[in-house]
């Protein structure tokens, strides 16, 4: 992170690269690489560019939702409403666009407006009314799902015109190596690029700082309420984009998007982003989504019954978070990522003892 002051020799640079790979923020890339190699070993066709781009297309909605969720989580909040935002948008598109192509643009604008509105409500109730975001977004999830099921009666309804579904299904055809570059992949790439820009901007840094310590941010004159609210807006906007993609290949059903909130949170956490905020990297969060989908693909190819998917997902997320918790602790105490926690504890407790009140005054 801050070791680029002097140009290091190749050996130390390689060592640093290795250190990043085994550190929590890099581990997800290592895990992803291992999974991809394993999938290719089981099914060599997977490495075929045409197949691989299909894989990326399949991950795109999850990755986009995970990118949005990243901003909320890194600011120290939760967004449980993304799944039902997706359902809302899918149903909106299905019922309002219909078979009329001229309605695509106005309805898309309406969907974006609805996304912004939901994010604003989530954010303002969380920050101004001081309701925990877990509760706010849970309430939003219940309310949106209730409305969606009320409107649709719980069954598939509406069928948007094919040119709209093309966004999720189609792509640029006749590309030399890949055969087809799906729109979903392009949208994912753009979303990721914008997300990287946002997280590198002063706003992005403020957001992370607000997740780390709200009090210091407030004292430094940051409008925390606005920073956090806009994170919620980003999250529900990305859920809107995912909804538009999902209309393409999942069709219009109120159950589209079910469970996406937990999948997205899992992906973000797999990417080494710390729940509670203040630490994380948006690219790793997106990689978390890829890792999760790669894991499911691997299980599929390995003929593991799909019912065991949940169990394996459960084990993996616990292991990933436990690993990053232990590694972060080791690093903060001993500045050596692999030192045993016990060692770090011994060296740290000595200077902390004379003035224990300095560490406990925070509450």
């Amino acid at each position: 992170m801050s070791d680029a002051t002097t140009a290091p020799a190749f050996g130390t640079r390689a060592l640093n690269a290795l250190r990043v790979l085994i550190s929590p923020r890099g581990a997800v890339f290592l895990l992803l690489a291992i999974l991809l190699v394993a999938i290719t070993a089981l099914n060599p066709n997977f490495a075929d560019p045409g197949q691989f781009i299909r894989f990326v297309q399949r991950v795109a909605p999850i990755a986009i939702v995970a990118i949005g969720q990243y901003f909320v989580i890194v600011s120290g909040e939760f967004d449980l409403s993304v799944g039902s935002v997706i359902a809302t948008q899918v149903v909106l598109a299905g019922n309002l666009i219909g078979q009329d192509e001229s309605k695509i643009v106005p309805v898309t604008l309406l969907m974006i407006g609805v996304g912004i509105l939901i994010g604003l409500i989530n954010g303002l109730v969380t920050t101004l009314l001081r309701v925990p975001s877990f509760i706010v977004t849970l309430g939003m999830m219940l309310a949106l799902l209730g409305i969606v099921y009320y409107v649709t009666g719980g069954s598939a309804s509406g069928n948007p015109v094919d040119s709209f579904r093309e966004i999720g299904r189609g792509g640029i055809r006749d590309v030399p190596i890949f055969g087809i570059i799906p729109w979903a992949v392009i949208i994912l790439a753009v979303t990721l690029a914008v997300a990287i820009l946002i997280s590198k901007s002063p706003y992005g840094k403020t957001l992370i700082a607000a997740g780390d310590n709200v009090t210091t941010q407030r004292y430094s004159g940051v409008r925390v309420w606005w920073v956090k609210t806009s994170a919620f807006v980003i999250s529900s906007l990305s859920a809107t984009i995912a909804g538009i993609l999902l209309v393409g290949y999942a069709g219009v059903h109120p159950s589209v998007g079910r469970g996406y909130e937990f999948i997205a949170i899992t992906a973000v956490v797999l990417g080494g982003v710390v729940l509670g905020g203040g630490r994380g990297w948006v690219v790793a969060a997106a990689a978390g989504a890829f890792t999760l989908e790669a894991l499911f693909t691997l299980l599929n190819f390995a003929d593991v019954p799909s019912t065991w998917r949940d169990t394996i997902q459960g084990v993996i997320i616990i292991a990933a978070v436990a690993y990053s918790a232990v590694a972060f602790r080791a690093r903060r105490k001993g500045r050596a990522p692999l030192a045993s926690p016990e060692q770090g504890k011994a060296s740290e407790s000595a200077p902390a003892d004379p003035a224990p009140h300095t560490t406990s005054m925070e509450g």
């Binding site: 219940l142 009320y150 949940d310 997320i317 406990s360 509450g363």
Partner: protein, 336 residues
């Protein structure tokens, strides 16, 4: 969080549990009026019985959830613990009254182990409670999906009796739930471990620096929570007559129990809250449900009302300068 002190005008401070019961009374009054306009009697014995029955399962889960939330964790694995314990009990009993004790013990032992796993992952592996219990829940869900296609086992008539009878308008299941809630209340109020649960949730770091073994209260809270979920599973098995792999997740007991706890005035971050507040929150949900059924409200829109009520209630608690420091800090607790 201490923003209340910066307010220019000092407002009247109320204990959050008192507010919960004021809210409950308001909900009952509005509900009674609505039900009366629909031409039915809210206070009929049958209706009261329905409300109390509706409280029993969610009440059991929410009482356990309160303990976990007080320590600053939460438990998302309850629906799967409920489902699997209902199945384990029903399969062990196989309709034979002689196997009741065995089935109950097996189900509760499984629940305790699940809770122990949650607690150990949270405390020893330092995994956030959200992820830890989501993970353990997913592990159990995978087992359920793989091994059960539908309802299984059967519960003898003697065991079904528990879910079906009552003393006057009060169902046995609700009495059991309230008795356990009282036990948990006494546990929190009278025992050292109970005080430690509040302390750990208030501040893990301060508790540790005060020489508290911080892992134990968290593990104990998780084990009790899962055992309560196991009891809820047993109760559901006794009502359905069979064990069901989806009974927990269909009820949405994970998020609903958390919502009930928060509706009852317990702070999601831990350290402050009460069992009776939670019971009040569960009662509000049960009354809302019964009123909406009585006036034949669209079932899908029920969720909308629930969502709005949860958020509005919590906004009211945090908006007012609610007295969050409970009296226990002022009394004999200080000696320690």
């Amino acid at each position: 969080m201490s923003t209340a002190t910066t307010r220019p005008k000092r407002r009247m401070r109320l204990d959050s549990t008192v507010i919960v019961y004021i809210a409950l009374i308001v909900v009952i009054i509005i509900g009674a009026i609505l039900v009366n306009t629909a031409g039915r009697n809210f206070f009929s014995l049958g209706n009261i019985r329905d409300i109390l029955t509706g409280m029993s399962v969610l009440g059991l889960v929410a009482v356990g959830q309160t303990l976990v939330i007080l320590t600053g964790s939460l438990d998302l694995s309850v629906p799967y613990v409920i489902s699997l314990s209902s199945l384990l009990a029903a399969e062990t009993m196989r309709g034979n009254p002689n196997n009741i004790a065995q089935g109950v013990l097996l189900a509760l032992a499984f629940a305790a182990i699940a809770g122990l796993a949650n607690g150990l992952v949270v405390t020893k592996l330092k995994v956030n409670g959200f992820i830890a219990t989501l993970g353990v829940g997913l592990i159990i869900k995978g087992y359920l999906d793989t091994n059960y296609q539908g309802s299984a086992g059967s519960v003898p008539a003697a065991f079904q009796f528990i879910g079906a009878t009552g003393l006057g308008p009060v169902p046995i299941s609700t009495i059991i739930m309230l008795a356990l809630a009282t036990l948990v209340f006494l546990f929190l109020r009278k025992t050292r471990m109970g005080h430690h649960i509040y302390a750990v949730g208030g501040s893990l770091e301060v508790s540790r620096l005060s020489g508290l073994r911080t892992a134990r209260p968290i593990i104990v809270a998780h084990v009790i929570c899962s055992v309560m979920a196991g009891l809820a599973g047993l109760l559901l098995a006794s009502r359905l007559g069979v064990g069901s792999p989806t009974v927990g997740s269909q009820g949405g007991y994970d998020l609903l129990s958390i919502a009930a706890v928060v509706l009852g005035g317990t702070i999601l971050a831990g350290g402050r809250g009460s069992i009776w507040g939670t019971i009040g929150g569960v009662a509000i949900f049960a009354v809302l449900d019964s009123v909406m059924s009585a006036i034949q409200f669209n079932p899908f829109l029920k969720d909308v009302v629930r969502g709005v009520v949860i958020v509005a209630a919590v906004a009211i608690y945090t908006g007012r300068g609610v007295e969050r420091r409970r009296a226990r800090f002022a009394t004999k607790e200080v000696q320690r």
